[in-house]
Every structure is written in structure tokens, then in C-alpha cells.
């Protein structure tokens, strides 16, 4: 019998706290620490979710390409590796260690976010997420759950297609040769989506859907709430705390207005709900503390997350509070089965 899943809300708080440093800045200390934490937790929960290997490899490849691209195209910085002739378009000029290091940190940030996503895929019970959401978001949650499972499925399909084509004598030599891989991948994906759509219809999915007019009104209010929320987040980054608080209050009211109308479709029922247990408390508690710590530092000392190696190389700031907060995000390993 498998171990009972942990409440998805705890994992969401953990993911937000861990994704924040690589998303808001390029300071190598928090970014690398986040990468180590994400890698450790991903390894700790590697029991399931096969098929993501291709996604991780692809992200690694993109990160490596990013480093090379940065070095070749960003000709700023004072630590010069070598200089390419100016007549070379785009890449002509000095190649610098500044650009290489910044590209490397950006690549690590990308890998960190991918690893967080992989871990969520392995640990999240998407059915629990679907059940947790109000009826009006059931469709959204189902689409999210299906899309999330499609990523590893697509990874597996790509491997199978590549093997089938190689066994046919095909050796891709560049992007222009991608047709034999991409076309069957897309066609197969569409065929799978059609069958799944039929299966969902045949099993009464969507019976709880609300009428179109109600849905349009809700959608408008929610879109407005999200927009105001994004502006509020920008205000936080600018340290305009009062403005941010007012905007967040407005976003909350708009969300409440959107959700207060009862659904006019069939009310869904829930077969089972995940119990909030000690493991969820540990993960959510540690992650909430880490998130609050990160936000406080972000408002009071944004340099703790930022690093700008141009035009001159500078040593990044190591903020121990931030690093400590990130270390707290190893909490899932403490409650791992």
C-alpha cells in the first residue's frame, strides 16, 4: 500500500518559497543554495514520475546553451577571456567571464525552477487538488492535472519516436531535421487528447459547469483581481509597501466577489479529502517561515537577491538570513517516508 499523500497546500507554499529567490534575482548564493535544496528534495522524492528525465535533460541543455549565448552576445564586463573580430555579426567583440558567470547563474536558476516542477509532479496528488478547489475551478484543475501528466508522457513519447526513427536509419543533424520527431509527437499528442476528451465527456465530466453568463462575469472579475495582484507584486519589489497593501486588499475583494455567486451546475461531491497531518505541518510551517523571511529581506535589503556583474565584476552579497531561510526548505526530507 502506498504512503498517504501530503496536503498539496503544504507543497505549494514550499514551491513558492523555493522558487522566489531564483525568480527575483541572480545573486549566486541564494540561487545555488536553492538549486542544491531543489536537487536534494527531488532526489529524496524520486520514487515516481518517470518520464521527467527528458525534461530535466532538455532544461540542462537549454541552460548550457544559455551560457554560451550569453558569452557570445553580451560583450560587457571587465574580465575579458578573449576578443572576437568586430566584423563578426552579433558575436564580434570581447567575450567576458562576467557574461559567462551571469549566464551560468541564470542557467542554474532555470534548472532550479524545473526541479521544483519535477518534485511537485512526483509528490502532488492532483486529484486532491481538484477536490480542494471550488466547483467552478474543477475544469481548470482537471486541465492542469492532465497537462501536468502530459509533460512526462510527451517526454516518453519523444524518446520512443526518436528511437523508432533512429532504427529506421535517421540521424538528425540540426533543427531543420526535427520534422520526423516533431510531427509524430504533435499528431500523437492530439490523438491522445481527443481520446481523453471523449473519455471525460463519457464520464460526466463538466456536469458541474456553470452557465456561460455567470462564467463570463466570474472570469472578468478574476482577471481583474490577478492584474491588480501583479501590480501589487511589482509595488512590493519597488518597496512601495502601503500601495502594495491597498492593491492586495482590492485584489482580495475582487476575488471574493467573483467566487461568492453559487454555481448553477450540478454540485460536485468529494469521495475523499486529504487529511492535514504532521508532515504537512512541518513542510508548511518551515516553508511559511522561509517565505516570510525572504519577503522581509526582499523589501528591506533587495541586494541580498540581486547581483550585477556588469560593467565590473563584483563579489555578490551573502545574506545569511536568506540562506538560512532557504535551508529550511529541506524540511520535506525530514518527513520523507
Amino acid at each position: 500500500m502506498r504512503t498517504a499523500p501530503i496536503d498539496p497546500r503544504a507543497w505549494f507554499i514550499w514551491a513558492i518559497a523555493l522558487a522566489l529567490p531564483p525568480l527575483v534575482g541572480r545573486n549566486p548564493f541564494p540561487v545555488v543554495t536553492c538549486a542544491v535544496v531543489a536537487g536534494a528534495v527531488a532526489l529524496g522524492y524520486r520514487g515516481s514520475g518517470s518520464g521527467w528525465g527528458t525534461v530535466v535533460r532538455l532544461a540542462g541543455w537549454l541552460a548550457a546553451v544559455g551560457v554560451v549565448f550569453n558569452v557570445l552576445t553580451v560583450h560587457a564586463g571587465d574580465w575579458v577571456i578573449t576578443t572576437l573580430p568586430d566584423w563578426l555579426p552579433l558575436i564580434g567583440g570581447p567575450l567576458t567571464w562576467n557574461a559567462a558567470l551571469f549566464g551560468l547563474v541564470s542557467g542554474i536558476a532555470l534548472m532550479t525552477v524545473v526541479l521544483i516542477g519535477v518534485t511537485l509532479t512526483r509528490v502532488l496528488d492532483w486529484v486532491a487538488v481538484m477536490r480542494m478547489l471550488p466547483d467552478r475551478f474543477a475544469g481548470l484543475a482537471a486541465v492542469g492535472a492532465i497537462a501536468w501528466t502530459l509533460v512526462p508522457q510527451t517526454g516518453r513519447a519523444l524518446t520512443e519516436i526518436r528511437e523508432a526513427q533512429v532504427a529506421r536509419g535517421y540521424q538528425p543533424r540540426g533543427v531543420r531535421d526535427a520534422g520526423p520527431l516533431v510531427v509524430p509527437l504533435l499528431a500523437g499528442g492530439l490523438e491522445r487528447a481527443t481520446v481523453l476528451g471523449e473519455a471525460l465527456e463519457a464520464r460526466a465530466f463538466g456536469s458541474s459547469a456553470t452557465a456561460d453568463a455567470t462564467r463570463r462575469r466570474e472570469g472578468f472579475l478574476l482577471l481583474l483581481a490577478v492584474t491588480v495582484g501583479v501590480v501589487a507584486a511589482y509595488a512590493v519589489m519597488l518597496r512601495a509597501v502601503v500601495l502594495a497593501a491597498v492593491l492586495l486588499a482590492i485584489a482580495s475583494i475582487l476575488t471574493w466577489l467573483a467566487l461568492r455567486t453559487p454555481s448553477d451546475g450540478i454540485g460536485r461531491t468529494r469521495y475523499r479529502r486529504i487529511a492535514w497531518d504532521r508532515r504537512a505541518t512541518v513542510i508548511a510551517g518551515a516553508s511559511a517561515v522561509a517565505l516570510v523571511g525572504e519577503l522581509v529581506v526582499l523589501v528591506t535589503s533587495p541586494g541580498a537577491f540581486a547581483w550585477e556583474p556588469y560593467p565590473s565584476m563584483v563579489i555578490p552579497v551573502a545574506n545569511l538570513l536568506v540562506l538560512g531561510c532557504i535551508a529550511l526548505l529541506l524540511a520535506p526530507l525530514a518527513v520523507q517516508p
Partner: protein, 534 residues
């Protein structure tokens, strides 16, 4: 008897298709009946089934005429989600229809959508788990179940909504014989004990005819070519499509016509008592005295951290057709993939025509060894069938004449068509043509008859014999014992990654509790196919 489903002048064409998929369908299915729809691929079976719960036309779009009534509900008025309480639907591929990861969650999913109260939901989950014999697996992850168990989960999920009609579209086509038996036994119980109306489309008649009350043989456009009990309809069908036990019954004039091995045994006993003689059992042909073109020695390979092949020694000679058989997970696919370098071996050595597979790139090996995977349509990408074959030839020094290959596979008219516009069976043949046009001297086939109708299977057998005569060495992983008995020159049985038997089909399959053909179960000895006893 009350009609459960009635088709009134139903006609249908898919969007952007001039040809009608269904043409003036006018018949009904009685309540409590177990009905089988048989007939060639592309005859409209799946379309017809989708009319019963309204997926056609609500989901498919297209031009729909006439009326389908299911227990008084007009499917053009009610969308499939509303019909879900009346019609349960089970698709061909169990994996493609699951939304959740756990058995009980999957069964509860439909009920949650319909707002069934939680206590009722719990009771129904337990009931359907018992009905399909999955009670012990209620908390298991679906990904860890066998194919038969997964399809029974799909049946249970459909039953949980307490439908009056259960519709199944080739539910055993992706399953091994044991998985198929599990599913069909569960369906038989549902029909016998609960009186559930069941409508089933299936190609593998040998598996299903013993379970059904009524059979409809469909021709083009869903028109009924023959209708009645299986004993009425089977004599009207092409011989290749008739289950072997019924072929023997027809040949020997047995009445009533046997539909199962059990029925057939009674007739054999009657024949024996009457002193009816049968010809002596033929013998296996000897192995060709030629040097092997494929040689694997001490081969061990792992998959997902588990060793799936243990010290396998294996050889194939020119003109041989070797069938790899064994339960799912016994290592058949891994062995095939190890032979062309797609799967890296842990230990041992594989040589193909003198080339060491470990040190030769699979693309270079592809010059001499062709591999058709389980889902061959995923290799198709070109705009036309002709372009698909030209693509293979562009990676080869030589090759075969594309026209000849297409003709061999019954695709002579399809050269200018887009592969994705063809039926599933035709696409599989295009994929096979795309491999064969390269002129491989060794051909590896992984489950080539999955979902194939009788005619396509007959064409495949003819093609394999043609290739054997040309000296092509063929290795085929399959569960299809009747196909193996018809055309294999050698059978290798794998069990837990080890070779447990290797020899001629008569020596290997005869008397086997799991791999014997229907004819062998009737007569024993070295008898395998109906021709042996007729």
C-alpha cells in the same frame, strides 16, 4: 423483449469527409442482451458505438441524420455527460481514459462529477470493486496494474454510475490472453448476474464468441451483413475470421457449432466414439543448415533498475521466423531492442551479420535490421505514403521497389494519401512498408497484430511467408498463439527474462497450459491449426 437501444435511419459523416461512416442504420439491441459487433476495420463499429452515448455527433461534430434512442432517451437531445448515467463507455486503450492515479479515485471520478452523495459513492465503489474482482487493489496506483487489471478498472469506473448499457470498444485488443480472459469473465458475470445490456466491438472472435448472445457482422457504412447468434453468423464469415475451434466444427459438420474449447471437446468425444479418424499430426520442419545472422550470447539486460534478461543465448538463421512468447514483462521487447542496439546490454554480446551491436550505431545497424515497434504509427511524419517510403530510402544505399512493397501490403492505391488520413490498420501497414522498403535482412516485429482485423492478419501472414522465402530472418514478439501456430518456424518462450523453451512450434506449444492453440487443446499431440485435423 424491450429494446434497450434503437437506431432509426441513422446516417453519419465525419467533418470534412464526403464518405459516410454510417448509412441508414435501422436496428435495435434488446434489454439484457450481450451483443458483439464484428467486421473489418473501417466498417463503422467504433462510430456506431459512439452513437450510443452521444459522442457522435456531440463530440465528433459532422453530419448526423436519424435518431438513436437509449432507454427512451434521444442521444441527439442529451449530451454524452448527461447520457453517462445510462450508458457506460470503455475505450480500447485503458491508459488513455484514466484521469487519476489511484484505483478507487478513478472509480469515484464520474460519481463526483454527478454529485452522488459521499456515503452512496463509498458503497458503490466497494460494490463495483467486488463485481470486477479488484477489491484487493482498491488503493493501488493504476500505473502498477497489469493491462487486464487496468481494463477492469475502466469497466468498474463505468459501472459505478449504474448504467443500463455498457459499451466497450475493442476492450481486449491491447491485452495479453490472460488479461483478456479476466475482462471477458467479468463482463460475462455482469451480463448473467445483473442482466446488464452489453455492446462490444472486437476483432479477436476466438476470445469473445463464447460469451455473447447475439452477433452482428458489419459491412461498409455500418450496414449489417449478417445477424443472429454466433452459431448463425460464424458460418457466413470468411474462414480466417472464424475462431479455430469453430473452423474445425464447420469442417467436420459438428452440430451445434462449438464456440469454445469446452464445446469442442464434447464433439471430439462424439467423433472418437463414432470412430472418426483424423490425419496424423504433421511434424515440425527442421532448422535451416545456414549460419546465423543474429547471434546473442550470455545476454543480460536491465530495465528500470531491474534485470529483465538473464544470460540469454539466442540465434536466428536466414529464412527463419522466430516467435518470442511469454507473459508481459518476461523480457520480449527488451530482447528485441537489444538485438538492434536500442537497448544497451549489461553483459554478453550481440552480433548481427557479423557486426558487434555494442559498437555499431543503431542508425548504421538500420541498414540491415528493420524494427517495427509496438506503436509503429508514431514514426510516420511525411505528407504522403510515397514520401514516407522515400524518406527511408534516402538513408539507405539500396532498398526495394516502393511500388512492390506497397502492393505486397495491399497499399497500392494509398501512395498519394496522407498517412494520418488512413485507418489505424492501414497506418500500421504504412509503417511496416516504410521499414520493408529499406530491404532489411533481419526484421524485428513487436506485437504486429495488436488491433488487426482478420483480413489484415491474413495479409501479414502472406507477407511474412514471402519474406521468409526471400531469406529474411524475422523475430516477432507476440501473444497471438494462433498466428504463431500458422507461420512461425521456431518458438522461443521467455519466462522472467530466461529462455524456458526453444524449438519448433509443435514441440513448444503442444500441451502447453498457457500457449496451446484451440486446436491443440482439442486434440493434443502435435495438432496446432484447423488444417492439421481437416
Amino acid at each position: 423483449m424491450t429494446p434497450a437501444v434503437t437506431f432509426n435511419a441513422v446516417s453519419f459523416a465525419y467533418p470534412d469527409q464526403a464518405r459516410t461512416a454510417l448509412e441508414a442504420i435501422d436496428w435495435g439491441i434488446a434489454e439484457g442482451e450481450f451483443t458483439l459487433l464484428a467486421g473489418p476495420s473501417g466498417g463503422g463499429k467504433s462510430t456506431l458505438l459512439r452513437c450510443i452515448n452521444g459522442l457522435v455527433p456531440h463530440f465528433s461534430g459532422g453530419r448526423f441524420g436519424g435518431r438513436v434512442m437509449v432507454f427512451g432517451q434521444d442521444t441527439t437531445t442529451y449530451p454524452p455527460r448527461a447520457m453517462a448515467r445510462t450508458v457506460g463507455f470503455v475505450f480500447q486503450d485503458p491508459e488513455a481514459q484514466f484521469v487519476t492515479q489511484r484505483v478507487d479515485d478513478e472509480i469515484a471520478f464520474g460519481m463526483e462529477q454527478l454529485g452522488v452523495p459521499v456515503p452512496t459513492m463509498r458503497k458503490r465503489v466497494e460494490e463495483v470493486l467486488d463485481i470486477v474482482g479488484l477489491a484487493a487493489l482498491r488503493e493501488r496506483e493504476i500505473a502498477t496494474l497489469s493491462g487486464g487489471e487496468r481494463q477492469r478498472v475502466a469497466v468498474a469506473a463505468a459501472l459505478a454510475l449504474q448504467p443500463k448499457v455498457l459499451v466497450l470498444d475493442e476492450p481486449t485488443s491491447q491485452l495479453d490472453p490472460w488479461g483478456a480472459e479476466e475482462v471477458l469473465t467479468a463482463l460475462g458475470r455482469l451480463n448473467d448476474d445483473l442482466g446488464l445490456t452489453i455492446v462490444l466491438a472486437e476483432h479477436r472472435l476466438d476470445r469473445v464468441v463464447a460469451f455473447v448472445d447475439r452477433m452482428r457482422l458489419l459491412g461498409d457504412g455500418g450496414m449489417v451483413a449478417a445477424e443472429g447468434t454466433p452459431r448463425d453468423v460464424l458460418p457466413l464469415m470468411h474462414r480466417m475470421a472464424v475462431p479455430p475451434v469453430a473452423q474445425v466444427g464447420l469442417g467436420r459438420g459438428w452440430s451445434p457449432l462449438p464456440l469454445s474449447v469446452k464445446d469442442g471437446r464434447a464433439a471430439v468425444r462424439r467423433d472418437e466414439a463414432a470412430g472418426v479418424l483424423i490425419p496424423p499430426a504433421p511434424l515440425d520442419a527442421g532448422m535451416p543448415a545456414l549460419a546465423p545472422v543474429v547471434r546473442a550470447s550470455g545476454l543480460s539486460a536491465a530495465h528500470g533498475g531491474r534485470t529483465v534478461l538473464h544470460q540469454v543465448d539466442f540465434e536466428v538463421r536466414p529464412g527463419e521466423l522466430v516467435a518470442l512468447m511469454g507473459r508481459n514483462g518476461s523480457g520480449k521487447t527488451t530482447l528485441l531492442r537489444s538485438l538492434n542496439g536500442l537497448h544497451r546490454v549489461q553483459q554478453g554480446r550481440v552480433e548481427v551479420l557479423g557486426r558487434d551491436v555494442a559498437t555499431t550505431h543503431p542508425a548504421e545497424l538500420a541498414q540491415v535490421i528493420g524494427y517495427v515497434p509496438q506503436n509503429p504509427t508514431q514514426m510516420l511524419f511525411a505528407e504522403t505514403v510515397d514520401a514516407e517510403l522515400a524518406f527511408t530510402l534516402s538513408h539507405r544505399a539500396g532498398g526495394r521497389d516502393p511500388m512492390e512493397v506497397l502492393a505486397l501490403l495491399g497499399l497500392a492505391e494509398a501512395g498519394g494519401r496522407h498517412p494520418r488520413d488512413l485507418s489505424g490498420g492501414e497506418r500500421e501497414r504504412v509503417a511496416l512498408a516504410a521499414i520493408l522498403v529499406g530491404g532489411p535482412r533481419v526484421l524485428l516485429l513487436d506485437e504486429p497484430t495488436r488491433g488487426m482485423d482478420a483480413e489484415a492478419k491474413q495479409r501479414l501472414v502472406a507477407l511474412l511467408r514471402h519474406l521468409q522465402a526471400e531469406g529474411v530472418a524475422i523475430v516477432m514478439a507476440t501473444h497471438d498463439v494462433e498466428l504463431v501456430a500458422t507461420c512461425a518456424s521456431r518458438v522461443v518462450l521467455l519466462g522472467d527474462g530466461r529462455v524456458v523453451a526453444d524449438g519448433g512450434p509443435r514441440a513448444t506449444l503442444s500441451g502447453s497450459m498457457t500457449f496451446a492453440t484451440q486446436v491443440n487443446k482439442l486434440y493434443g499431440g502435435g495438432y496446432l491449426v484447423p488444417e492439421d485435423v481437416l
